[in-house]
Symmetry: C2
Subunit: 429 residues, 2 copies
């Protein structure tokens, strides 16, 4: 399901219930670039310590925009012994919602843009129709602005038509009483619907002030005032929700506490937190803590595939020859991806494929049980050892070793893959 600015609000309940009913979620992001400094291969060099890798990515990757977010939800249907999936492909763009809203600058990397262009990526959908978002601080600031304005309107502040020295109305001087009474008569006539428009006589600034205060204090009864206040608050809440935009989807994923699966997902997680929650902390341990708060259960299929018992298992299988049993079916009304005609690098499809890889590996664990089981739930204890692993492959090795030694060491289960967006079957080639 493609979700852009126009259909976002109407689709939100569908997204929420898909998350709510899911056994696990798979995510994937597309970015406007990878590295604004070192080459991509140097940036994702498999030999860095986790601290080094985190620091490099934080420094050189966070100014790019995550502009397409794929979410695929998987729910196991016991009666059919199959997964039911719903795939969402969100286009995201920080459209400024007012003159005072943050005017985000982001970097584009020509090679990444050119690559996405070659895959048929639709940039107009991002820039014309992308869903806006706010991080938590921006949301809090906007909420504060609305509250301040509301307090002012309720007389707590000092709006321009109330004299700072007196909170109440000033007396209407005798020489202006006729004028004000004429205005009241005209407005009464407007409110009682005998007139459709009202033409006021030209007046001075002081007379205008008298009109405001008279109409404000006299014309609207208390109940009507409360009703209007309530309407206004609802309108403001809706404006606020619109501005928070796509971040609400991430909040829902976070709140669900569901297992979130990604492939080589470090950059996805970093961008998601950076863009929709808060600027990334300096320290890797602080980042891990923030991550645990936002996504309590994460699983990286690339790391899982490089861990016992998968690292010796031949996982060269491509999605098109996944066993029939594993293949999920698509919920009604949802775009069905055909794995024979790959749509790699559309985030929704990539999330879907990542989910398939996870299902395949989870079920493989079932083959070790006595008796073997063909389906292993995402909530199974068997999966837990793969949760929340370091997002970086940390290799300790004698200091006199060279890169070539490491590559040789790893060659038994495939070269360490330095590509940040490749898939399982690439990683294993």
């Amino acid at each position: 399901m493609e979700i852009i600015r126009k259909n976002f609000k109407d689709s939100l309940s569908t997204v929420y219930s898909a998350i709510e009913e899911a056994d696990f979620l798979a995510i994937d992001g597309e970015f406007s670039g990878i590295s604004d400094g070192p080459s991509v291969s140097a940036l994702t060099n498999g030999l860095d310590t986790p601290e080094e890798r985190y620091a490099k990515l934080k420094k050189h990757s966070m100014d790019f925009l995550l502009f397409q977010f794929g979410l695929c939800t998987f729910r196991y249907d016991q009666s059919e012994s199959k997964y039911l999936t719903k795939s969402f492909n969100f286009y995201i763009f920080p459209k400024p919602f007012s003159r005072n809203s943050p005017d985000i600058k982001f970097i584009c990397q020509s090679s990444s843009i050119d690559f996405l262009a070659s895959q048929g990526f639709d940039f107009n959908k991002v820039f014309r129709n992308g869903i806006p978002y706010l991080n938590q601080e921006e949301e809090a600031q906007l909420r504060e602005q609305y509250e301040e304005r509301r307090n002012q309107a309720n007389g707590a502040g000092t709006p321009s038509f109330i004299s700072p020295s007196s909170k109440g109305p000033v007396n209407v001087p005798d020489e202006h009483k006729d004028f004000i009474n004429r205005v009241i008569a005209k407005v009464d006539s407007l409110l009682s619907n005998t007139e459709k428009t009202v033409d006021l006589e030209p007046c001075t600034g002081f007379q205008r002030k008298l009109i405001y205060q008279t109409l404000n204090w006299n014309r609207v009864d208390e109940e009507e005032r409360r009703r209007r206040e309530h309407e206004k608050q609802e309108r403001e809440q809706e404006e606020l929700n619109d501005a928070v935009g796509f971040s609400r989807v991430i909040h829902a994923i976070s709140k669900s506490g569901k297992l979130v699966v990604g492939h080589n997902m470090l950059l996805d997680v970093m961008h998601t937190i950076h863009q929709f929650y808060c600027p990334l902390p300096e320290d890797l341990n602080d980042f891990k803590e923030v991550t645990m708060c936002v996504f309590p259960r994460l699983l990286d299929t690339k790391l899982m595939a490089s861990t016992h018992p998968f690292k010796v298992h031949n996982l060269r299988r491509t999605p098109s020859n996944l066993p029939e049993l594993v293949r999920p079916y698509f919920s009604d009304g949802f775009q069905s991806y055909n794995t024979a005609t790959e749509q790699l690098h559309e985030a929704g499809y990539d999330a879907y494929i990542t989910g398939l890889c996870f299902i395949s590996m989870a079920n493989y664990l079932g083959s070790f049980l006595t008796p073997p089981r063909s389906h292993i739930s995402a909530k199974s204890k068997l999966i837990e050892p793969f949760h929340n692993k370091d997002h970086v492959l940390y290799v300790t090795f004698p200091k006199e070793w060279k890169t070539s030694d490491l590559y040789q060491l790893f060659s038994a289960f495939g070269n360490p893959c330095t590509c940040t967006s490749c898939f399982l079957w690439h990683a294993q080639n």
Copy 2:
């Protein structure tokens, strides 16, 4: 005329001859943003000295991409007493042409992107079909790479199949002579067209080396070798031209020495030089020198409009009520812009409108002559005082003055406009 990667090469001669025959050229650029630091209004604050303004724009504007370039050529047709115009709208993108080519990073500013999106700007045309370009240093580097490779192929270097110690071929050892003769027979048969493919026996690295040198030295006669060398050079020259891409249009404008007109053109000129010639110098005077080399005759219609005798002249005229006399006609095969349905912020249209403003002001100068003249040529001496003015409005004023004093001073001929892309009639409102 819309020009993208696909039709660029075929359109180039049309562009060249339009420039060649023109009396003057108008240009305009669209960028991926304006400021990565201060707000746009602070960046283009009319009260800065030229040095300050140049330094600010160089620091905060040059990392954006000029991704649409409008060129409108104007040729005066004496027999019709009208201008003939040709308008070109180029989409530009630094698509990497090989693995080793520069991987340009550029910034996008959400408010600028959102503004262009609201004007119907087609981002897919930029990112999927934009014409590549190189600056002069990149072009020189690429040319050098080609030359190095050519020298290597001609034996001046040390390609892998020639032993470093001997430039000539090694002798074919007796035990390999049969093998080599069989290969020669097969290749001869291929060349004489009795066979369509050639299957070589499996061979060792040394045998492969023998094959290369034998075929290289023996099979091709001198004339054929020269023909192929020539073909290869032409192919390389074409590859080089493709990589230089859009920069060739700027080179042609520069080489023509024609008057180049823009509206509020400082940013356009800075981006054009930065993107297609060289990184901008630190110092404003050096920048002016570079600019004089690239564009020997520049005229800014916004500055012209704020100079005697225009600053007291009512220029609130919009393009739709330009006198009939001024309105140019469009050459056959060229998109005709209808000034009634404005297409503001398409670079080709903006360049066209800028040209109209210039014609209107140039002709107004003719009204001061005795007898008055209705047409003043772009080459007239009357225009020369407006050439190559500082690109910044430098106001000297007593140090105790405040901004409000300056605004009041200028109010007689409109507020100093701080918008970088507005037009004459906005500037004068």
